[in-house]
């Protein structure tokens, strides 16, 4: 009963928040409002300026990119850097993009698949050792990449996966599992148990309940977890920098880093590539935002 009430209040609160009705502003003085808008403006400036500058630099011609004072409001813009990035001459951006996309999609897909069933097991099925196992999985999250990198390198060499995307698939899949298990488990617990019990009364088996009731109800959360694991794989640098050696298998972080260590000044192209690298994550974020702010512990992804 009490959980129902708190869910209800949570829903009401989140609607209020969404509609901006959380706190009343009726009693604020003019001075307070000025201070507020100045503070808000500063926060936005600090947060967004680097992104503005990234977009700007990717569009500026070389002449204004490398001159002082730095350009803040552009006179003329050019798509030249984007043309170079997509062209094959300087660096194979499209190959990196494709590699990153393939590795992020496959790991996220596999991680969600394995974690969905595991999380259901944690959330709904009763067996000895469940508490210990589920807490143990969370503890695994404490092991950092740097602790794993030396032994994993040995394992990858032993498996013969060096310089192939398979090395990253194995590593990312397992490293995203604890987060996926945790987030999905929390979501499954938020589905009222009565729905599943009613279905079992109607003669559904447990597996039928999972496939016909729980999974369809959880589709939005499963998509969200997919996106989250995609983002982790898309960002990963440490393991990729060690396991990958040839350009044809580079992912975006490694490829862009390699471009930056060339001797010529290529800031325009780096900024264009950086912006293009951000696009998939920002698109996913527009979907994820509601999960992140609703406090479903979706935000607590290592970073």
């Amino acid at each position: 009963m009490s959980t129902k009430q708190s869910t209800y209040r949570h829903v009401v609160d989140s609607f209020k928040t969404a509609l901006g009705l959380g706190e009343s502003t009726l009693e604020t003085s003019l001075a307070e409002r000025v201070v507020f808008y100045v503070a808000l403006g500063l926060t936005l400036l600090i947060t967004l300026f680097p992104f503005y500058y990234m977009a700007l630099a990717s569009l500026l011609p070389e002449s204004s990119l490398y001159s002082l004072p730095p350009t803040l409001i552009p006179q003329d813009l050019t798509l030249e850097h984007y043309r170079t990035v997509f062209g094959p001459e300087t660096f194979p951006f499209l190959t990196y993009f494709k590699n990153s996309f393939v590795i992020a999609t496959t790991t996220a897909g596999a991680s969600v698949l394995v974690a969905t069933f595991g999380a259901y097991s944690f959330a709904r099925l009763d067996y000895r050792g469940r508490g210990v196992i589920s807490r143990g999985v969370l503890m695994v999250y404490m092991f950092s990449g740097i602790l794993l990198v030396v032994p994993m390198f040995q394992v990858i060499v032993w498996l013969g996966f060096v310089d192939s995307l398979a090395s990253l698939f194995v590593t990312y899949l397992v490293q995203t599992l604890p987060v996926s298990l945790y987030m999905l488990g929390n979501y499954f617990r938020s589905i009222p148990e009565e729905i599943e019990e009613a279905a079992i009364m109607d003669g559904y088996s447990r597996l039928e309940v999972i496939f016909k009731i729980t999974l369809p109800l959880s589709a939005p959360a499963i998509v969200a977890v997919f996106f989250f694991t995609f983002m982790i794989a898309w960002n990963e640098y440490l393991f990729a920098s060690i396991f990958l050696q040839s350009q044809s298998v580079f992912t975006l972080p490694i490829g862009i880093e390699a471009l930056s260590s060339s001797f010529r000044q290529v800031w325009g192209q780096i900024m264009a590539a950086s912006l293009l690298t951000s696009v998939p994550l920002i698109v996913m974020f527009t979907y994820l935002e509601k999960f992140m702010v609703e406090g479903l512990t979706f935000g607590a992804v290592e970073g």
């Binding site: 609160d13 928040t17 969404a18 959380g22 009343s24 808000l40 926060t43 947060t47 967004l48 680097p50 630099a57 002082l68 004072p69 730095p70 069933f117 595991g118 259901y120 097991s121 009763d126 067996y127 469940r130 196992i133 999985v137 404490m142 092991f143 950092s144 990449g145 740097i146 602790l147 794993l148 990198v149 030396v150 032994p151 390198f153 040995q154 394992v155 590593t171 899949l173 397992v174 599992l177 604890p178 298990l181 960002n235 440490l238 060690i242 972080p253 800031w267 780096i270 900024m271 950086s274 690298t277 951000s278 920002i282 974020f285 992140m292 702010v293 609703e294 406090g295 607590a300 970073g303």
Partner: protein, 296 residues
């Protein structure tokens, strides 16, 4: 899991338990093989010299790597850098997140969209963020060196902020705080909004100032979530590698030290020992912190 053909005789509870084990098994096998095994193998490697050729077996040398480590000034300096970096970046990110959460605790036009924008530094890919900061701090054409030295005259323009040992660490701390304050904001905003408004009303009637309200209502209500955010960020920043490495090679924290020893000097055994010390130092900190935060 015995033969499933007899499952007809089992009770519902037994079947549920079997299904429970079956569904979690793939995840457990993968975690055991690709996380637990490597962690234990790392413990073993830290007591050995790892040969360059993968077909030769590691050679047992006991605690030698640890003795070398504790006797080397590079290790102690890396430990100090790690603590300075972690402490300041964690504190700044937490305070920044708290400030932003308090700022957003009221209604205003466009609140939803602006909240989304504030989360951008945390959501954007690390590689993009690292490179735009490198460009903005570029000693020749970067906008910040231009503002700092040419316009404001704060320092001599020839200094490369990210390659100078003194300035690099503070730049990295500030950039890290910039990237992760949205995480603290995200964790705090829900709790800030959950503080009942009548508590402030009552305080106002009693004549409490804004500052007193913050100290006596907001902070006590938020202390556990603040402690949690601080702890999570501390753990992640303590282990931070790529964020620092992509910005500068002049800030040598323990993870970076381990990486270089392993993959620039090819001393895998020594690097395994460094990451073990890193891990143990973190565990000691977490235990001490939890003990302190619980009877806070």
């Amino acid at each position: 899991m015995v033969s499933l053909t007899r499952s007809g005789d089992r009770t519902i509870e037994e079947k549920e338990a079997l299904l429970g084990y079956a569904l979690i098994a793939p995840a457990l096998v993968l975690i055991a093989a690709v996380i637990l095994y490597p962690v234990l193998y790392n413990v073993y490697l830290s007591f050995t010299v790892v040969p360059l050729r993968p077909d030769e077996a590691p050679q047992w040398i006991g605690l030698e790597h640890y003795y070398n480590l504790f006797g080397s000034s590079a290790f102690w300096s890396a430990l100090r850098t790690t603590i300075v970096f972690t402490f300041f970046s964690t504190t700044l990110a937490t305070l920044g997140g708290l400030g932003t959460a308090l700022l957003f605790n009221r209604s205003f036009r466009g609140r939803r969209y602006i909240r989304g924008m504030v989360l951008l530094p945390y959501v954007a890919p690390l590689i993009s963020v690292a490179f735009v900061w490198r460009f903005m701090l570029d000693p020749l054409y970067g906008i910040f060196p231009y503002l700092g030295s040419d316009v404001l005259g704060l320092y001599a323009g020839s200094i490369d902020i990210l390659s100078n040992g003194d300035t690099a660490i503070w730049s990295v701390i500030l950039i890290d705080a910039w990237r992760y304050f949205p995480f603290a904001f995200l964790m705090l905003i829900a709790r800030v909004q959950a503080i009942p408004g009548d508590m402030y009303e009552a305080a106002k009637i009693d004549g409490a100032s804004k500052l007193a309200q913050f100290k006596d209502i907001t902070l006590p209500e938020l202390k556990y979530i603040l402690a949690t955010v601080f702890l999570l960020r501390w753990i992640w920043n303590f282990n931070k590698f790529a964020d620092i490495w992509l910005l500068t090679r002049r800030v040598e924290t323990l993870p970076i030290y381990a990486y270089q020893v392993a993959f620039a000097n090819y001393q895998h055994g020594q690097a395994a020992a460094i990451s073990m010390v890193l891990f143990l130092a973190l565990i000691v900190f977490v235990l001490a912190y939890v003990a302190w935060a619980l009877d806070w």
